[in-house]
């Protein structure tokens, strides 16, 4: 009798839950299969439409539709700030692209597309001075902030002042802004920027790509106020297609269509950005229709996305590259002596089957790269990736004097007067299933040619710790490292290969983790920083890539994929390496 009562209670609980579920809003229609959007390969017609819309500015403001269109994006990480200059997170940059993309951004073809600027300064019309130090920027006329106030060149100048103001400690990077000497604003649409010294990556300033940059800030809101802990960081006044209506931290960012946007009101009225910190939960949310767009999946998620009904996978080939870096420090106490020999380095590249890795672990959706500027205008496409050739690799190791004298399967040889075994650790980030899988294959390939590579992975906050934090990469306490980075939209590698950027106790913040110092490369990096002509500069980069390739200075693996899950309602996405998918948010639409 009592047993029956207990079962009755349990049944009641289950039924209650089901009744509550039944009270849910009406379920959406069954999810049809979606043909993935073109992603990286965008249709010329779409581009033409985009450019036509841009040319039509300022467009007439369309009346909001009777039934508001909404879209939900699932972010796996929450931005630390919605003003990207005060956040180093890509998620903050994406919100920035949708709300405040700056004077220009980069389109589906990786080309600059004007936002607030009328045109890019150029030498032909004299808006770049002959000495390359003065740039005249022209804004579009009649621009307005999301609160309806006019946006003028005074805001442009104020943005620079805000970024270099020492009181604003939240600003992450001043790179380039600290090269500006002065900005004059002769009228509301003109800003004349005078640089202290020539700054080649000037195109990055005041603009946003899909992975860095920040837009303008409104003087009428922020003048006389410090940026740190300012509400502006959480609810900025912006000038893009959307503005931030609210941010419930940990939960939801609500973006509303900006009626004052120069292209006119975007098609979707409200974009919810929902924090979904678990990748599995994001996949489930995409399947149930709780989320329409899920960025930042990993390559390993592609089959899951493709096998989920109603969800399409978009894999954009990015300019980020996965590579292994040799510790090339010439001091034997810091560097690994055998890596000083180019034959050993080249043997390692030839000895790893990167092509099988790309075909299997990355499902053939990306390619093996030969350099560190893949899918950018400066990529030296003449350089074919080294083939997988274990026989040639072993011949090179033999020639360099590394043989398996003791018969344990691992080669050893004399280096700097000592016998050194080709056995070392490899440090990359964990947890990361793809990296672990690549590492396992690479280790097996290397073992086949007599080199032992032992995984010694670290969490990102340890691997990337600074010099003072005893980070292995920063301090040179590694033999072979591995991570992903990119040099876009401007190709300048920010000192990554400069001799004077090798981190030391005296210069702990140096950017050259490769710890390489080649005078020829150093000279090329110095020269590219001094060239205003983009063609001449690209030539230097191509020469530098040739030098890196010939000297096998690192093991380039593959161009990373930017993987997104897309639900059936969203249309108009066009992905690119420089602009991600958010550059044309004003063209996105949702089907009912």
């Amino acid at each position: 009798m009592k047993g029956n009562r207990l079962f009755y209670l349990l049944s009641l609980a289950v039924i209650s839950a089901m009744v509550l579920s039944a009270c849910a809003p009406a379920t959406q229609a069954p999810l049809p299969t979606l043909a993935p959007n073109a992603g990286a390969t965008k249709a010329a017609a779409d581009l033409a439409a985009t450019k036509a819309a841009e040319a039509a500015a300022p467009a007439a403001t369309a009346a909001p539709p009777a039934e508001p269109k909404t879209l939900t994006i699932g972010f796996q990480q929450e931005p630390t700030s919605l003003y990207p200059a005060c956040s180093n997170m890509t998620f903050a940059v994406w919100v920035g692209q949708m709300t405040n993309p700056g004077i220009w951004t980069w389109d589906g073809d990786n080309q600059p597309i004007m936002e607030l600027a009328e045109k890019m300064p150029n030498a032909a019309d004299g808006s770049i001075s002959a000495d390359g130090l003065t740039y005249t920027y022209t804004l579009k006329p009649g621009l307005k902030w999301s609160d309806g106030e006019p946006l003028t060149s005074a805001d442009f100048k104020f943005t620079w002042e805000t970024i270099i103001d020492p009181a604003n400690t939240c600003i992450i990077s001043r790179l380039g802004y600290d090269s500006i000497e002065s900005i004059e604003t002769p009228d509301d649409v003109t800003a004349v920027v005078k640089f202290k010294e020539f700054y080649a990556p000037w195109g990055n300033l005041f603009a946003m790509s899909g992975n860095s940059g920040s837009g303008l800030v409104p003087r009428h809101v922020l003048e006389g106020q410090a940026l740190d802990n300012n509400d502006f960081l959480r609810q900025p006044i912006t000038a893009g297609a959307y503005y931030v209506e609210s941010w419930v931290q940990g939960d939801l960012i609500t973006l509303q269509a900006n009626d004052n946007y120069f292209r006119g009101r975007p098609k979707i009225d409200t974009i919810f950005i929902k924090m979904v910190p678990s990748r599995e939960a994001l996949l489930a949310a995409l399947q149930t229709g709780d989320v329409d767009l899920g960025p930042d999946f990993v390559e390993a998620s592609i089959p899951d996305l493709e096998n989920t009904p109603g969800v399409a996978a978009i894999a954009i080939t990015s300019s980020s590259f996965e590579h292994y870096l040799f510790n090339l420090d010439q001091d034997p106490a810091v560097g690994f002596c055998p890596f000083q020999d180019v034959r050993v380095r080249k043997a390692m590249i030839l000895g790893i089957d990167r092509f099988t890795i790309a075909d299997t672990l990355l499902f053939g959706k990306t390619r093996v790269v030969s350099n560190l500027w893949p899918n950018t205008p400066v990529e030296n496409t003449d350089l074919a990736p080294y083939p997988y050739d274990p026989a040639q690799a072993m011949a090179l190791l033999d020639e360099a004097g590394y043989t398996d004298a003791d018969g344990d399967g691992i080669r050893e040889g004399a280096c700097n007067g000592e016998t050194v075994k080709l056995s070392f650790t490899h440090q990359t980030t964990t947890p990361n299933q793809l990296r672990a899988d690549v590492q396992a294959l690479a280790a097996q390939n290397l073992l086949d040619i007599g080199i032992e590579m032992i995984p010694d992975n670290k969490s990102p906050d340890i691997l990337f710790a600074g010099y003072a934090g005893d980070g292995p990469l920063a301090t040179g306490k590694f033999v072979l490292g591995g991570y992903t980075t990119s040099f876009i939209p401007d190709p300048d590698p920010a000192g990554s290969f400069d001799c004077d950027q090798i981190p030391t106790a005296d210069k702990p913040d140096g950017a050259n983790w490769y710890r390489m110092c080649f005078p020829e490369l150093d000279a090329m990096m110095l020269e590219q920083k001094s060239l205003a002509d983009p063609v001449a500069r690209a030539d230097i980069f191509k020469q530098a890539q040739q030098f890196m390739y010939d000297n096998a200075l690192f093991i380039p693996f593959y161009a990373r994929l930017n993987v997104l899950g897309v639900g059936p309602r969203l249309t108009g996405l066009q992905g690119s390496a420089f602009g991600d998918v958010y550059w044309n948010v004003y063209d996105w639409d949702v089907t009912p």
Binding site: G3, A17, M18, L20, S21, A22, A24, T27, Q77, E78, T80, S81, C86, S87, T169, I172, S173, L175, D178, N204, S212, D228, N229, L233, V248, Q249, G250, D251, L252, T254, K274, M275, V276, P277, S278, A281, A284, Q287, T288, D290, P309, P460, D461, I462, L463, F464, A465, G466, A468, G469, D470, G471, L473, A474, Y483, A494, G495, K507, D509, A511
Partner: protein
């Protein structure tokens, strides 16, 4: 009793001091807040400026005492990633965590009591054997597996099958309506409950079995008391002590939240905040949460001890 409580509180302050020292050391040595500024378009000068601004250029003991000095006055400082007061970040999350965890705890205690007592009374019955088996399964399963499985069945598959389904995430902005809140609570609370109920039921069952075999229970029955009175008034009161201990130990987690459950169900609680900020090297936020939870542990221990005297008059604190 008062002397006892005062003495325990003074001990508690020393315990907290030790905890903060160890936590600060571990937090700061296990991750470098500068790690997030090492890649990308950022100059050596920027990195040096950020390190100085964040006070990371000072020796670790100096950083600790600066933090302690402020924390002792209830000021947890600013988040080094979000540039807003840590107390503000915590106060946004605390109510969400309390809603989830208190609901879960109530469900857990109610279900455990019900199942534990019933299981003990009906020892070796089919129900008892099945429950014992399920308890071991529930206790052994990792929470992420339970949470994702429940989500897959009741949120994803139910929708595919055309049945009424539950939501995958928190959607806190919908919580203005109570029924929405309850709908969203069902799966995370169920995930937390499955593991905890499994454990608690075992404790209460064995405790009840021990008590039920005591002489005074036989006496109570011999007096002619109805079985319900024997179980509830005589047995449960004595058998509840171990459960009170467990609840006392669990109480601080009401504030700490549940990292995995909150992550899987996108619940904007303290557990997720802790996990997220720990990964970003935001030590002021991490330390504040650790201090709050450590304080809760100390306080709830004292409350548990006092609760013993109320449940069992034979226990005297001195």
């Amino acid at each position: 009793m008062t002397t006892y409580i005062v003495r325990r509180l003074i001990q508690g302050v020393f315990i907290l001091m030790i905890i903060t020292t160890v936590s600060f050391g571990l937090t700061r040595l296990s991750s470098d807040p500068m790690a997030q500024y090492t890649l990308g378009r950022i100059s050596a000068e920027d990195r040096a400026r950020i390190r100085k601004n964040l006070g990371l250029d000072q020796p670790l003991p100096v950083q600790y005492f600066k933090w302690l000095n402020l924390a002792a006055r209830g000021d947890f400082g600013y988040s080094i990633t979000n540039r807003q007061p840590v107390s503000e970040l915590i106060m946004q999350r605390l109510p969400q965590t309390l809603v989830l965890m208190v609901t879960a705890e109530v469900v857990i205690i109610a279900l455990s009591a019900l199942l534990g007592i019933y299981s003990a009374i009906k020892q070796y019955s089919l129900f008892d054997n099945v429950l014992t088996g399920l308890s071991f399964v529930g206790f052994s399963l990792p929470i992420f597996f339970i949470a994702l499985t429940l989500m897959f069945i009741f949120a994803v598959q139910f929708k595919v099958w055309g049945l009424p389904y539950l939501p995958t995430g928190a959607d806190v902005w919908d919580f203005k309506e109570p029924y929405e809140l309850i709908r969203h609570l069902v799966l995370p609370v169920a995930s937390l409950a499955i593991i905890q109920v499994a454990g608690y039921t075992r404790y209460l069952r064995s405790s009840m079995l021990e008590v039920l075999s005591q002489d005074y229970i036989r006496t109570a029955r011999a007096k002619g008391l109805v079985e319900q009175a024997v179980v509830v008034r005589h047995a449960l009161r004595n058998a509840a002590l171990p459960l009170v201990t467990l609840i006392g130990l669990d109480a601080p987690t009401l504030l700490a939240g549940a990292i995995v459950t909150e992550t899987v169900y996108s619940w904007p609680g303290m557990g997720r905040l802790f996990w997220q900020q720990a990964g970003r090297g935001d030590y002021p936020t991490v330390m504040a949460i650790l201090l709050i939870v450590a304080t809760a542990v100390v306080v709830f221990q004292i409350i548990t001890d006092v609760a013993y005297t109320l449940i069992d008059p034979r226990i005297r604190l001195s």
